[in-house]
């Protein structure tokens, strides 16, 4: 186990380092000149040269990279070229908003997807099974932003029961916060619930036909124990992994959902920064996203290997 852990940790670290190089080079490849953006109105060659020197933009790329990573490790992602505010502070302010949205979406996805998956596996081939599968197919085919527009159209424009957009802090007004987060959470959670439903259904079907379930039935255990204890526990293992793998989709979905509902979260920060050519912000947001993504995937892998020893015993896991 220790050697597996170390190997996996090392791989994640290398991925992270290379990923940060990609982010750094990618931002440098963006059209435009960071010094020009920083200079604002004042664009004389002397001023530009001074800015380049001040920000180390005249140094070779590897030196700039090491300097950037060194500062990032200390929590300093530089300043926004747009308004001079600290990128780290902006990220810290926006991240909890997206986090809340993601948590609500995951809760919603679980609340719908898992019971639906279990029910359709137990009643395989019934009308319920078809309905759940149909829902899942539609849920996977409808793009986030269209679902968002339809919900706004129905609940905000026509029924006037929920606000179309905007955000309220959960600390100052929890009720208003939930009212404004409900539609975005539905938008983000629908795709997830479809994926979870499909996964739960297929792993439940697999568990139900496994030998240990037949044994449990043969022992005369009641149906609820067979399903709830024996089959469900094993099915949940794969669902946990799928949930981890969906993190990328969740992040992508949050970017677009925040855009539609004008929620001042992490994703909106990225899109706005792209349009404003605010390189330090783009760099910081992408770096934090990649780090979070790699770390969560690492945890998913480790949890999975704890639950399923075959993975780590079979040597290389890719």
């Amino acid at each position: 186990m220790t050697s597996y852990l170390l190997r996996r940790l090392g791989a994640a670290l290398i991925t992270l380092i290379l990923g940060s190089v990609v982010v750094f080079l990618g931002v440098h490849a963006l059209p435009g000149d960071a010094a020009l953006a920083l200079a604002g109105e004042e664009r004389s060659p002397a001023v530009l040269a001074q800015i380049r020197q001040e920000y180390g933009l005249d140094k070779p790329l590897p030196v700039q990279y090491l300097r950037y990573v060194g500062q990032a490790l200390q929590g300093d992602f530089g300043q926004s070229t747009r308004n001079g505010s600290s990128v780290a502070a902006v990220i810290a302010e926006r991240l909890p908003v997206t986090f809340e949205l993601a948590v609500l979406a995951v809760l919603l996805g679980i609340a719908i997807g898992i019971p639906a998956g279990i029910a359709s596996a137990l009643r395989r081939g019934s009308g319920l099974d078809y309905a759940a599968n149909g829902f899942a197919l539609v849920g996977l085919s409808v793009p986030h932003f269209w679902l968002g527009l339809l919900l706004i159209l129905e609940f905000a424009v026509q029924l006037h029961v929920l606000p179309a957009s905007g955000y309220a802090s959960p600390l100052s007004d929890p009720v208003e916060n939930l009212r404004r987060m409900l539609l975005p959470a539905i938008v983000l959670g629908t795709g997830l619930s479809a994926v979870l439903m499909r996964q739960m259904r297929s792993s439940m079907l697999e568990s139900l036909s496994a030998d240990y379930v037949r044994t449990a039935r043969a022992k005369g255990l009641p149906q609820w124990r067979v399903v709830g204890v024996h089959a469900l526990r094993n099915s949940l293992v794969t669902v946990v992994t799928v949930l981890g793998l969906q993190l990328g989709a969740l992040i992508s979905g949050a970017v677009i959902t925040e855009q539609i509902f004008v929620i001042p979260g992490f994703g909106k920060l990225l899109v706005d920064a792209v349009f404003q050519r605010d390189y330090p912000v783009i760099q910081g947001v992408t770096l934090v996203t990649v780090t979070g993504y790699v770390v969560v995937n690492l945890f998913v892998d480790l949890t999975y290997s704890l639950l399923n020893p075959r993975i780590r015993l079979s040597g290389r896991s890719t």
């Binding site: 791989a11 290398i14 991925t15 992270l16 290379l18 990923g19 990609v22 990618g26 490849a29 963006l30 059209p31 197919l137 539609v138 996977l140 085919s141 409808v142 793009p143 986030h144 932003f145 269209w146 527009l149 339809l150 706004i152 159209l153 905000a156 424009v157 026509q158 179309a164 499909r198 297929s202 993190l247 990328g248 989709a249 992040i251 992508s252 979905g253 970017v255 677009i256 855009q259 539609i260 990225l270 899109v271 792209v274 349009f275 783009i282 992408t286 996203t289 990649v290 993504y293 790699v294 890719t318």
Partner: protein, 295 residues
């Protein structure tokens, strides 16, 4: 459900499949009604895209008929500039299908040689490829696509490029895995013993056997790319106005939700039906071509 695994799964399929096997595959496919529905949906949108010029101009403005609700004269209504929503949705099908199919084709064209070399030769080539795909997969799909689109600039060509590159790591991984498994087959060992060159082993034995996986992967990748194009265009990083794209149309519709709700309905419905079609088709093809993985 789909009967016992065919015995011919273990022997190399010749480049041209004998008519009997093809017939059996077609029969198996036709029996799946949802897969046929998928094919019909995809076919309908391909037809719509091909014949979109017949439905009128997508860019002609008519300020006497601004935001007209759906009617006989304007079946899907008109937008804020009096442009026909039907013509725009049909032309949007061109953009969406083109972006979806071209970017997937681009990704496959790059992923097949890379996956073949990595899976067949293993060693350092595989190590490099695996590391590179790991790094690319460390970026969520949309983050990667947004980043690439921002670097390349907003246009249809660049969207295709950005989506193609974003799909690359996933496809490389699938192909590499498939090649790793296929090269252990006895018929590959037999070809090696026979003195066949590596390139010819890959082209004659490995690639044809990986074909069904590739077809299924492509059908699954295309709807993802179509949604990707719509998303980038919705964000303003994709196809630029006045060229109609389902994403830009929806983005514009958001400003007129209370005055012209139909503008937010049809382009989205088109995206949903197209992706649904590809998803159903992909599920069906997987069941037919790869009986081992029946869900």
């Amino acid at each position: 459900m789909s009967g016992p695994a065919p015995a011919d799964a273990q022997v190399p399929a010749p480049l041209l499949e004998p008519p009997r096997r093809r017939h059996r595959l077609v029969r198996r496919f036709v029996r799946r009604r949802l897969a046929v529905l998928g094919l019909v949906l995809v076919g309908a949108f391909v037809t719509l895209a091909l014949f979109s010029p017949l439905l009128g101009s997508a860019t002609a403005q008519d300020f006497a008929n601004v935001m007209v609700p759906p009617s006989w004269a304007h079946p899907l209504g008109t937008d804020d500039l009096g442009r026909s929503e039907l013509a725009r949705t049909a032309t949007g099908a061109r953009v969406s299908l083109l972006a979806g199919v071209l970017s997937t084709a681009l990704a496959l064209a790059m992923a097949i040689p890379i996956g073949l070399v990595a899976g067949y030769y293993r060693g350092w080539a595989d190590a490099v490829v695996t590391r590179a795909t790991d790094v690319m997969l460390a970026f969520p799909f949309l983050i990667l696509a947004v980043g690439l689109a921002a670097i390349l600039g907003a246009s249809l060509r660049n969207v295709v490029l950005a989506l193609g590159l974003s799909q690359l790591p996933g496809l490389v991984r699938v192909i590499r895995g498939e090649v790793l498994a296929l090269r252990e087959q006895d018929y590959v060992a037999a070809a090696v013993a026979d003195g066949a060159r590596d390139v010819s082993i890959m082209a004659r034995f490995i690639l044809p056997n990986a074909m069904s996986t590739l077809i299924v992967q492509a059908t699954v990748a295309i709807p993802g790319a179509i949604i990707g194009e719509a998303t980038l265009s919705f964000l303003g990083l994709g196809v630029q106005p006045p060229t109609p794209s389902w994403g830009t149309m929806l983005s514009a519709a958001q400003g007129f939700l209370d005055q012209a709700p139909w503008l937010a309905v049809f382009p989205g419905l088109a995206i949903a039906l197209t992706t649904l079609g590809f998803n159903l088709l992909g599920d069906g093809l997987r069941d037919v071509l790869d009986p081992r993985s029946t869900r």
